[in-house]
Amino acid sequence: MNVWQFLADFFVNVGAWMGELLSGWGLSPFWVSLIVKVVGGLALAIGPLTAVLFLIWYARKVIGRIQDRMGPTNDGTAAGPFALLQAVADAIKMLTKEFVFPKERDRVVFLIAPVLAVAVAVAVWAVIPFGPQGMQFVDLNIGVFYVVALASLAFFAMLMAGWSSHNKYANLGAFRAVSMIVSYEIPQMLALLVPVMLAGSMGMQGLVRAQEVPFIVMVPVPALIYFLAMTAEVGRLPFEQAEADAEIVAGYFVEYSGMLFGAFYLAEFINNLSASFVFTVLFLGGWRGPWVEQAPVLGLVWISLKAFLVFTLLTFFWGAMPRLRIDHILGFSWKFLTPLALVMLVVVALVDKAVQAAGLTSPWGRAGWLFLANAAVALVTVALLYRAERRQQAAREARRFAIVR
């Protein structure tokens, strides 16, 4: 095997090499596979953690530019070129800061909450496929559902943090954050059903393999719904009710300091990143791209690039959007996204069956009809919104008129 062949399927080959090495030492196959998997899992878990160090710097730079600031600089500091090491410095600062515990905290619960938040954020990565074969820790046949189900534990990290801090703002923050995230889980789940339907599988690999045409082309409206719901799930602006530093100090983790606060911060960034990856898998074709069949390692490059784009979009939102009021946020989920997602589910189910019945089996033919159906629904939605807006405006005018008279 020459170097290029080795590099083409780098991760699988490294695993195989390590396996051979270990069996050479006389270990039984069970222990060999266990050790190889544990090493792989550690490498996989370190991945997002190091990526986050870079992404924090990146997000701060981007937001700085949006707001006409410099962002972190290395002016007079030792933060390296372009202040690239800023996040590392932050991490070191976090690690060496004192933990300040609120007096009447609920000890155990207070400590479990940040640990749970990080663990849940890291655990998602087990099912994300970085390449065709062997470049995924485990291909669960319930893939995406595993991701969504884990998010349920994250609710509890918030509720525990809020409750145990013995601070009314923390409490209120947790309560608000959970009621918001819970509301957005509905459109997210309903939009997620559409790719599952079209792929006939919940497994991440099955979803990627079904996307000869990326689902964002086939079903743009559910993709948009999923994206918005996902933005809310990870607590990014404009849905940033969890923190809302202007109203409730900083939300459920006001009382946390040092690395315990750092844990929440870390979990938030990891969640952003993994949400970008999951969106990529669901709608952007995952690791699909040119030459993947020849060199599976390219899958990692493609999926990372796509996920990076999604992350950048999230960061743009973060930098450019104002914060919505909580009632608007909840109303947007219940009175717009959820009904639209339900309608989309029905429309896609019926149209795809009709296409199937008409015997259109080519992926692009199917995609075309589904796209047209999506466009039609989008047009109707916009028209309805326009009408509602006109009516509201008329009502406002009438009221103003009445006052003047």
Partner: protein, 169 residues
């Protein structure tokens, strides 16, 4: 000979029962809810051990992400969380007696019935079991009726629960 599976079973059994006992014994309601989450998590682990990952995820999704969250929110809404002490065990002895009698009865029943001392069928569980489940839920010759009735039940729950809990003017 103790197998790995037995160890894992014991671990999750301890989690489940420990959580359940916590629900009973915790004085603060919020702690009881957290113990309940632990018990739910243990049951999810047992589902994984039974090779039913879909139900394990459902357990996390509906019981922990839905019911337990709702319970915690109900606690926050109702009591200003913190009257910490409350008479928890008013009828403790009678209740314990009944529960214990029930447990002994069931245990005897389980041990006296040799049918249930079976091992799991070997081999992988059908990987397309989920698809079969989906097909069964909507095929009229199988379980269509429960499926649609579930939808009506959910409708009733939605309207009823919001009607009851809404702020009355």
């Amino acid at each position: 000979m103790i197998t790995v599976q037995q160890v894992v079973f014991a671990l999750f059994a301890v989690l489940t029962l420990g959580g359940a006992i916590g629900v009973v014994a915790a004085r603060k309601l919020f702690h009881a809810a957290l113990w309940m989450v632990l018990a739910f998590f243990g049951v999810a682990g047992l589902y994984l051990l039974l090779e039913a990952p879909f139900f394990a995820a459902l357990q996390l999704f509906i019981y922990i992400g839905g019911i337990a969250v709702l319970t915690v929110m109900a606690i926050m809404v109702t009591r200003g969380i913190m009257k910490p002490k409350e008479p928890v065990f008013t009828y403790a002895i009678g209740a314990a007696g009944t529960a214990l009698a029930f447990l002994v009865m069931l245990g005897l029943f389980i041990f006296k019935t040799p049918v249930w001392d079976v091992a799991a069928p070997t081999g992988e569980v059908d990987p397309n079991g989920l698809r079969a489940l989906g097909q069964a839920l909507v095929s009229p010759s199988a379980y269509l009726l429960p499926f649609e009735v579930a939808s009506v039940l959910l409708l009733a729950v939605l309207v009823g629960a919001l009607f009851i809990a809404r702020e009355k003017e």
